[in-house]
Subunit: 533 residues, 2 copies
């Protein structure tokens, strides 16, 4: 693969996703709902393929350990709504929050670290004080944006007083200098409260009565469901430390500012594995899983140059974490920089300690050989399945120039901003690895109004679809049907033409090279099996 | 299979499920949370296998239609939290509710149709009126239980006044005679409100502000997410009416009385397919899907005698439904009667009409050939994935008598209540079809303290696990290891013994017949592939 991938804009990708049925805005006919997305016919197939790859790599066929021994990892599916004490013990009720300010006049609420006050210094000699303005920026680090926006909004009169290009400073509501008014974006007056912590967990009530006792939460991560079942698994599954418990499932975070398409949504899917090991061996396993996880991402066809590790500094570690490294990806919206894709955290024995204390259940592990009891340490590779979908989409996207009929040669990478060369036309192609492609094979009759072609093409479709996800299409010119399959990333197209009726052969057309080869129908399954791997 | 299955009690099954890691009570270390369950290492594999069978039968390889044409069904995964207008239009905000009464004194809340007033007639001649008592029973139809419980609670003094066996009547709070006091179970006084409808949808708030505008719901069914995306799918997926959209996912209902293990839980998983067709053909498709769905359940190994259809009477049809038939199963807690497993509903064009009106988006289908526009009718086969897990567990459960060493013959069905015959011992075996079994193959070295056996057994384990879910176990006597695998339903056990070291053969032991055959290791994969299908 070439690496033009991270140049695709999020707008282009979002539009392709909608047009081809990968990802739709949730509840679109009602104007949507911010931070929620639906996965369409192709999106669910892609997501399922990634899900299955992870499950295979974790549960069904985990890697050999550093000593060459087979690892033991079992699966789990815990409920989204759990006993609320879970989230007290885990620290989420107390600490999983964003700082917010409320406008006392309008009851509006804002993220304190995204709510800026911009002050302009008067250029007139001798004048004291500042000229204050309020700007709400989307990101916590959008200081320059806030200043620029405020500057553009200055009236003629203000400019006259301040000068054309007055010096500016900006503070969020988190670090406002003493004595400055807390200007509300709604009223432009001093009507904001002090910053308060706003919990990111969605709340609900279980049972017929709404009160503090019935309050529950939608899980903000799948991990705690694993810790709660750690003892059940030890008692019932014949596992011995070291072992892992893996889970894939939905999680919910009431993000104040969901953004970047499916990168940060309020409802998302996680893939988390908790690896329970002896404290003395935890560093070894941390290193092991760090390397294994990078290998796995590369096995999905992601260019190594678009992936990197980033160690967390001591001061950015979560309260439960002894060490953490992120696998980062070069997203379109971070390029040339990188953003989080997976975190591999050394959680020590924080979670089991917390749940042991809060539940008063003994969670120590009894080592049969030595009689020793201890709380295992935990190494956690945690990633987002829905975020993985975004990465695979970004990585697969290509714009290419392809030779028109009669021109020699194969497709070449399009150069951004350049016109299509003479004799070429452009195409969009999603270069998914075959194992991830939502559709593996498309089957076409050359013409739809020739029943003998249609009958034969359908026979082939019936033959293939029990083995691979197969798509049948008879409408439109054959060239347009190929392009459509390119755009959804189908690796192979099989076409039934008039020769097929004579000699029982068909053409197989390769998505990437666009080359066509003729294959006898009775060898088709074998040839496709070889190519699809 | 024999049909002893529906004699297993729910207690026995729940206990096996916990002991072997199929299903755990959610948040058990915190005392659980009523109506929520977690799927353990074996439960998640079983659930995934059923999920994959459904997805294959619906999306990847749907049946041929009544005319022999291939059906078009595409997948979808919509979000759990949707725009709340969805549930207004669908009728859930207005009508998806249970009747409740509140105690004004204690703020307790009860289901009005499960809250009984029992009245005893005085046996003393000439005395007027009733002697009222309040009983709360678990089920709406537990009238006799309520009366019996009330009778047992009569004091000596009351008995003296009423006589030893006074005549009794009972009414729920739904049909209380005029003028009777609404006795509260908490106060035994007239402190209950009139019955009011309590909505079964879980509520939450999206965004930083809690008010009516930010109120949202956890979806009580996956179906509406399909209707919301119907137009997106038509516009992007090259489907033509008739076609289907299928979805598997979590749904939530704040049941007042969750019960019967995973049969009725508050968080569950649905498998729903909406089949969009021309109104004139809807009855044909209703009949088609009715038959197809029954075939599918039978393909999972469920005894036909434990399955039946039940047509809904006109007066029990939901407001949106023109016709409905249930596939019912003989559950342990309904036997010899049946309970709901799947509903196949003729929804007419109710949902699309509602959403078209509420969203003001045109949802009509344009028939390309004729230029006609119409709202398709919908046939909906809807079942519970988690309920299917329960059915497969019930159906697989067997208690058998198996001959001890030296006794001829194979296993025979145990007769309930009878002692184990001489020369036999009992076993529990889960007779899952191989395609549903959580573990397909177990691999054992005969002894764990002989490294040459262990090494060879592990080699075989590594060889098999990329193809099938394979379990390695070296601890305990070989007979106990077989029994453990019987109890989790593993179809085949492969044992490496001392002969294996000489001639590279192993034994394959069959779960159902308990017969063992010797197979060369280099033929093992082929033999297992044949047997596992």
């Amino acid at each position: 693969m070439n690496s033009t991938n991270n140049t695709v804009s999020l707008e282009t990708l979002t539009s392709l996703c909608k047009r081809r049925g990968f990802v739709f805005q949730s509840s679109e006919i009602y104007g949507g709902i911010n931070g929620f997305w639906d996965y369409g016919p192709l999106g669910i197939q892609l997501k399922n393929n990634i899900r299955d790859e992870w499950w295979k790599a974790m549960v069904e066929c985990p890697p050999l350990g550093p000593d060459g021994d087979p690892l033991q990892i079992v699966g789990l599916d815990s409920s989204i709504i759990q006993n609320p004490q879970t989230w007290v013990a885990s620290g989420h009720v107390g600490g999983f929050s964003d700082p917010m300010v409320d406008c006392k006049a309008t009851k509006n609420r804002y993220r304190a670290d995204q709510c800026w006050v911009v002050a302009f210094e008067s250029s007139e000699a001798g004048e004291e004080g500042h000229h204050l303005r309020l700007e709400v920026a989307v990101e916590a680090d959008a200081k320059e944006v806030a200043i620029e926006t405020a500057r553009e909004k200055l009236s003629k009169k203000e400019k006259k007083s301040l000068g054309d290009n007055p010096a500016a400073v900006a503070y969020t509501q988190m670090d406002l200098p003493d004595g400055w008014p807390r200007l509300s974006p709604a009223t432009q007056e001093n009507t904001l409260t002090e910053p308060r912590e706003f919990n990111l967990m969605f709340e609900t009530y279980v049972g017929a009565i709404k009160n503090d006792e019935s309050k529950a939460y939608l899980r903000p991560e799948t991990a705690q469901g694993i810790f709660l079942n750690y003892k059940n698994v030890v008692d019932t599954s014949r596992v011995k430390v070291p072992f892992g418990i893996a889970q894939i499932g939905k999680a919910f975070r009431n993000e104040v500012t969901p953004r970047n398409f499916i990168f940060r949504s309020r409802e998302f899917e996680q893939m988390e594995m908790e690896w329970f090991c002896h404290p003395d061996e935890s560093q070894k396993w941390f290193n092991f899983w760090k390397e294994e996880r990078m290998k796995w991402w590369e096995s999905l066809g992601i260019e190594p140059e678009n992936l990197r590790f980033r160690d967390h500094d001591a001061d950015e570690l979560a309260h439960y974490s002894n060490a953490c490294v992120d696998v980062e990806y070069r997203y379109p919206f971070t390029a040339p920089d990188f953003g989080e894709l997976e975190g591999i955290a050394h959680r020590g024995c924080f979670d089991l300690t917390q749940h042991q204390e809060a539940s008063r259940q003994k969670l120590e592990y009894l080592e049969a050989e030595t009689g020793n009891r201890y709380l295992p340490n935990v190494i956690e590779p945690a990633s987002g399945l829905t975020r993985a979908v975004l990465v695979i989409l970004c990585e697969a996207y290509r714009e290419e120039w392809v030779p028109k009929d009669g021109v020699e040669g194969g497709p070449i990478a399009a150069e951004p901003g350049q016109p299509t060369p003479e004799g070429y036309e452009s195409r969009v192609v999603m270069k998914f690895l075959p194992k991830l492609a939502p559709v593996k094979v498309a089957v076409f009759p050359l013409l739809k109004n020739r029943p003998e072609l249609v009958v034969k093409a359908r026979e082939i479709y019936y033959m293939l679809r029990p083995k691979w996800t197969t798509f049948y299409d008879q409408a439109g010119a054959i060239g347009r049907r190929y392009r459509r399959q390119d755009e959804v990333g189908t690796p192979y197209c099989v076409t039934v033409d008039f020769d097929s009726l004579q000699d029982d052969t068909v053409t197989i057309r390769d998505r990437d090279t666009m080359e066509q080869v003729r294959v006898p129908i009775n060898e088709l399954e074998t040839v496709l099996a070889e190519r699809l791997g």
